[in-house]
Amino acid sequence: MDYIYGVMAVICIEIVATVGLSVFTGFTGLFSLGHAAFMAIGAYTSAILTYFYHVPFVLALLLGMVMAGLVSLILGFPTLRAKLRGDYFAIATLGFGEAVRVILENLSITQGARGLPGIKHFTTLPVAFIFAVLVVWLTKNFIWSKFGRNAIAVREDSVAAEMAGIDLFKVRMLSLVYSAMCGGLAGGLFAHYLNFIQPVMFTSILSTQLTSAVVAGGMGSITGPVLAIALFIAVPEVLRVANMWRLVAYGLILVLIMVFRPSGIMGYHELSFEWISKIFKKNTRNKAGGKGI
């Protein structure tokens, strides 16, 4: 029972990070290979605060988010200002992720590569669940507001968006900070769930997992990535496969999705009862060209 409990808590924590990343990658259309770094920043900031300074848990989480957001400004300011091409930006995030890990391994307050043991266990399943629901709800509101719509416009056609008076830099920056803060929150929850963190936990493997979940779930959906990350974590646990086989599967999933269904499991739809019943009824309107968001 404890085991299932644990898997569910991890799923909830990763949902927080994945949904945040879906705003950046799915809705704004920028590809990141370094979002694990924001989880690392959130994890270390909040853990150091609760461990060394006895700051209350929720406040520490909040400060971890703020720290991740601030660092994302440092990454985003030069790169997004320069309107880098998608792949250039991706390589920049990859470098950023590595740089953050190297720094964490060499700081004294993080105790370097050995890691930080003895962090208090604050993240219980109900806590993780509440945060996951909260973040999904906030993200849904975000996407259904002018901020989210502008992000989608930028993803769909950045030139047309600019000609429609949308400031590309501001929109992309906001999405980056939002996703970074969600990552920071997930990191903080993660640290206080495992009670031990180490820089090596936040490598590009974790970034890959998050990005794969967003791509597989659907770039333009919130529930799709939620579903995908839950499957990504639960299926290997059920099958009890070695960690490396998971990565083999992530790689294969990315390729297969891109080759056969680039819009992901959910495409641009959200998982809802209405949507499910529509699938079964084979609504005629879909044949006429599909409904927009």
């Binding site: 507001s145 416009a153 056609d157 047309a160 968006a161 429609a164 008076g165 060209g289 599909g290 927009g292």
Partner: protein, 257 residues
């Protein structure tokens, strides 16, 4: 006093001259045509006016303000909107969201409101939804509001682009080949639409078009571009009767024949 004026505008791309020493103007309430063979540099001129490209030399003034080096967003805010030769819509958004996205510049709720979806947000969203409907009504897309933009037939996509440009509340509207790919009936329909929006929204319009009947119907004054330069500028009668224009379009042997 011209609304928009180009003075000796030149644009080069790595040594290749795309637009050379172009000067012309458009007055308030005018509708002018920009014609010329493919690759003459007409769309490049639109891109220079809207700030997509920066002019290598010369300057562009709009309402007495120098906008040569202004960025696209501020040019839009100043009151210039455009459509694109190869339609650029927000494809995965619905027809109405394409318009509402543009109207969001009027939405004065902040991020906090948006995140908790306060009543202020729902109220403003509703208001902008209704306002979007008005624009869709004007261009005749009211029956398609929930369709995804990329599911519309070609002609309707062009109309949606025009509606989106209108929603920016421009003073000057740049239309880049609005009749491309349309049959004669659709062209007549389009001419009526352009006349209607010009009246309704008090617009000044600059139009790139290859359908000569559309240009002749709409534009009393025409600027002819050839090889990146202004070949001639004058009334539609002047242009129709000028041998240079015929030569530019049809080549040397036809004009001499």
């Amino acid at each position: 006093m011209p609304l928009l004026e180009l003075k000796n505008v030149t644009k080069t791309f790595g040594g290749i001259v795309a637009v050379k020493d172009v000067s012309y103007y458009i007055k308030q309430d005018e509708i002018i045509g920009l014609i010329g063979p493919n690759g003459a540099g007409k769309t490049t001129i639109f891109n220079l006016i809207t700030g997509v490209y920066k002019a290598t030399e010369g300057n562009i003034t709009f309402q007495d303000r120098d906008i040569t080096d202004a960025n696209p967003v501020s040019i839009v805010k100043n009151g210039i909107a455009r459509t694109f030769q190869n339609i650029r819509l927000f494809n995965k958004l619905s027809v109405i969201e394409n318009i509402r996205t543009v109207l969001y510049r009027e939405a004065d709720y902040n991020l906090g409101n948006a995140l908790i979806r306060s009543s202020k947000v729902t109220r403003i969203e509703k208001k902008l939804y209704d306002k979007s409907l008005e624009y869709l009504e004007v261009v005749g897309l009211i029956d398609y509001i929930n369709n995804r933009a990329d599911s519309l037939p070609y002609g309707l996509q062009r109309k949606l682009e025009i509606a989106r440009a209108l929603a920016l509340d421009p003073k000057l509207l740049l239309l880049d080949e609005p009749a491309a790919g349309m049959n004669p009936d659709e062209c007549i329909d389009l001419v009526e639409l352009i006349m209607k929006i010009k009246r309704t929204y008090n617009l000044t319009i600059m139009l790139i078009e290859h359908h000569m009947d559309v240009v002749m119907e709409l534009c009393p004054r025409i600027v002819v571009i050839n090889f990146g330069q202004v070949l001639m500028e004058g009334s539609k009668l002047d242009v129709q009767n000028d041998p240079r224009v015929l030569r530019a379009y049809l080549g040397e042997e036809y004009a001499n024949a």
